[in-house]
Point group: C2
Chain length 415, copies 2
């Protein structure tokens, strides 16, 4: 299609032909809003409010402590993990939902250090979302100098792996650019050197097929509040390959990770399965809503999700580059769809006021310092007309200089 | 009063004179149920369902990522901590609400180990709720043998403290017996020896006056889902005395504990205040409900709560001992109210089927192996007639041998 033939009607036709389009009705998106920030916080499934009401009034209010058994509260981490597992190529009993991504990374990095006692280097990507690197620094510091963290840029990672490497711990899809790392290749390279491969799936779980099992990954972590639509700060997940369970131990040895949590034994004795990565009591209400998001995913085909994700992001890049030509946007994401997650970033020296003006116009993306405007495209609820309309509003903002208005210069937002 | 004069009408008169009685209407207790298990999971405040609905539909559903700022999600840990602080004798900026009790204990024990690098012993109570001891074992193991855990029984703690002691980490009110430790005396004894005093307030926060500041306590942790009524698995709290902030560092160095979390600096640089004890993104929905429970407490006087708690538990002990005399119950809690938390335990060789029969009769307490029936009395919603009626049902169960029925012998409950 040329730009002439690619108009809003053409986008509407694409929506009409979209096999995932019916799933949009499972979400409540505010009227008039084009939500392109599902890579930060996923939208609310329509079932969330009813589920929250049921957990609060029936499970908690009426059934009280009985619900630990009758409502399955104790089993939620494992049950939700098993439900999430097919989305990331994991098997039953290999995934658990609990705690935050940072905490789960602490557990698996600590486990990796213990599994490779004669090695000393953790490799991470320097430009990664910083908490991963901070957590690795904390794990290294706790060894009193035995372990060090080496931060590499993306093209240096493979060559940095050697016989001193404990593990590579890489975020599969880069939070800022959307670049996809080659999970299979880096995992194979790490394991060939005797190192472990740890993947952070925050920006890929639910947005594209992930095959932890096929790649032979050792450990993984990720969040449930982005593409999995679990709600603000919903508990994260942790994957440990079966072969490590019972051998890989983590240091935060709370009673939920004990082999017999209700035997009240004096000494800690780890579960020999995925539950060893649990620590303490989970926030049940936040936990329960994870299931509402996962159930929508189970109604969707991941191949269709990925195909639509690539089409949406291709369309957005094309429309911005064509219709905003001359306005100073530079693509900051991989141009090739196969190398790109479900997000698109553009660099622009005035990115901050431009994003403020977009948000005021009902197009919700976000800004990442110093100059990146970032847009996420969740195939479950973003359509082709949304992309058209978002760019349309951007064209108006740029053509009419709306972003130069004083109210868009205020620097107060932190997300 | 003699037993003859102490009848249900006398209990009703006590309820009528109870200054806390109006607060019961702030809770939804199922009709016909006498809930004596608020020391395991607090009852549901009536405001909880509306608050959950608002967080889900408005803050998440309508305002989406804007709520990190506009709804104050980022500030919740500190704001809730400041709201909780007066209940435990802490000052502004000394308490934070986040994560689980086990995780928070890991942080403060790790901080204590780092603050006392030339000492080697962590002292805990052996008969404590086991997760505390497990966590301490994990912290010790992570030092590679430098640190060891010494488990004492309650009368041995003071004498065990010496110049090798890093910290004593004691649960203020024992989960099973309700015995109250002398916080001021043990803290003073520990500090006189150069050790740190860490207190677990799971069974005291909200149930009685606690004066961390007056006792000069170093660190404390506790949960919000028992007497504070925050909901199942609601996030826990952590107290660090101001003098330790900026010096005491914990090893799980996630971005929420960074001095500038949104500067995305390559290296971890700790916050120099209570926020250094944060790790990652919090479960906002579970977190938000903590405030509903705290707001009820702010309408109550802690001296009145404690006075009623002692009266309720005294009454329960007296009625059980008098009306169930000869049925084999032995008091397993301190007889003196001043030495007892807001709970009463009795030992009975058939405690398990007796508790099952009680639960079937609508009196919810719990059982702790091998032989303890445990009853919690939350002064905010338990009244004197509740105590009378609970014992009345127990009398029937014992006099008529109802607990011997086959359905009460089944061992399936875990709480």
């Amino acid at each position: 299609m040329t730009l002439d033939s690619l108009d809003r009607a053409a986008c509407a036709a694409m929506d009409a032909a979209d096999p995932l389009a019916p799933l949009r009705d499972r979400f409540d998106i505010p009227t008039g809003m084009i939500y392109l920030d599902g890579n930060s916080l996923g939208a609310m499934p329509k079932g969330a409010a009813a589920r929250a009401h049921d957990v609060v009034t029936r499970e908690w209010g009426a059934d009280l402590i009985k619900s630990w058994n009758s409502a399955g509260w104790f089993d939620l981490p494992v049950r939700l993990g098993d439900k999430l597992a097919p989305l990331i190529g994991a098997g039953d009993g290999e995934v658990i939902v609990c705690d935050s991504t940072s905490q789960n990374l602490f557990k698996v990095l600590s486990a990796a250090v213990a599994l490779r006692p004669h090695r000393k280097v953790l490799i991470l990507e320097g430009s990664n979302f910083p908490t991963n690197n901070y957590i690795a620094q904390g794990v290294a510091a706790a060894t009193g100098g035995r372990v060090e963290v080496r931060l590499c840029e993306k093209d240096e990672i493979a060559d940095a792996i050697d016989e001193d490497t404990i593990a590579v711990a890489i975020t599969h899809v880069h939070y800022k650019t959307g670049h996809i790392h080659d999970m299979a290749a880096i995992t194979a390279r790490a394991q060939a050197a005797g190192a472990l491969a740890i993947w952070d799936l925050c920006h890929s779980a639910g947005a594209m097929p992930v095959d932890l099992g096929g790649a032979g990954v050792d450990f993984a972590v990720g969040c449930t509040y982005k593409y999995l639509n679990g709600g603000p700060g919903s508990p994260a997940f942790l994957f440990a390959a079966k072969r490590h369970q019972g051998h890989a131990l983590q240091p935060v040895t709370g009673w939920w990770g004990h082999a017999a949590p209700f035997a009240f034994e004096p000494g800690y004795r780890p579960q020999r399965d995925i539950r060893q990565f649990l620590i303490g009591t989970q926030p049940i209400l936040s936990m329960a809503l994870v299931e509402v998001g996962l159930d929508i995913h189970r109604a969707a085909d991941m191949t269709a999700i990925r195909a639509k994700s690539m089409a949406l992001t291709d369309l957005f890049i094309r429309l911005v580059e064509e219709r905003c030509a001359g306005h100073g946007f530079t693509l900051a994401s991989p141009r090739e769809a196969a190398a790109r997650g479900s997000q698109v970033s553009f660099a622009h020296p005035d990115g901050y006021p431009i994003m403020r003006a977009l948000i005021a116009a009902g197009v919700i993306g976000d800004f990442r310092a110093p100059d990146t405007v970032r847009f996420g495209f969740t195939p479950l609820y973003v359509g082709y007309v949304d992309v058209w309309d978002a760019v349309d509003r951007l064209v108006t903002i740029m053509d009419e200089g709306i972003w130069k208005r004083p109210e868009h210069q205020i620097r107060d937002a932190v997300t």
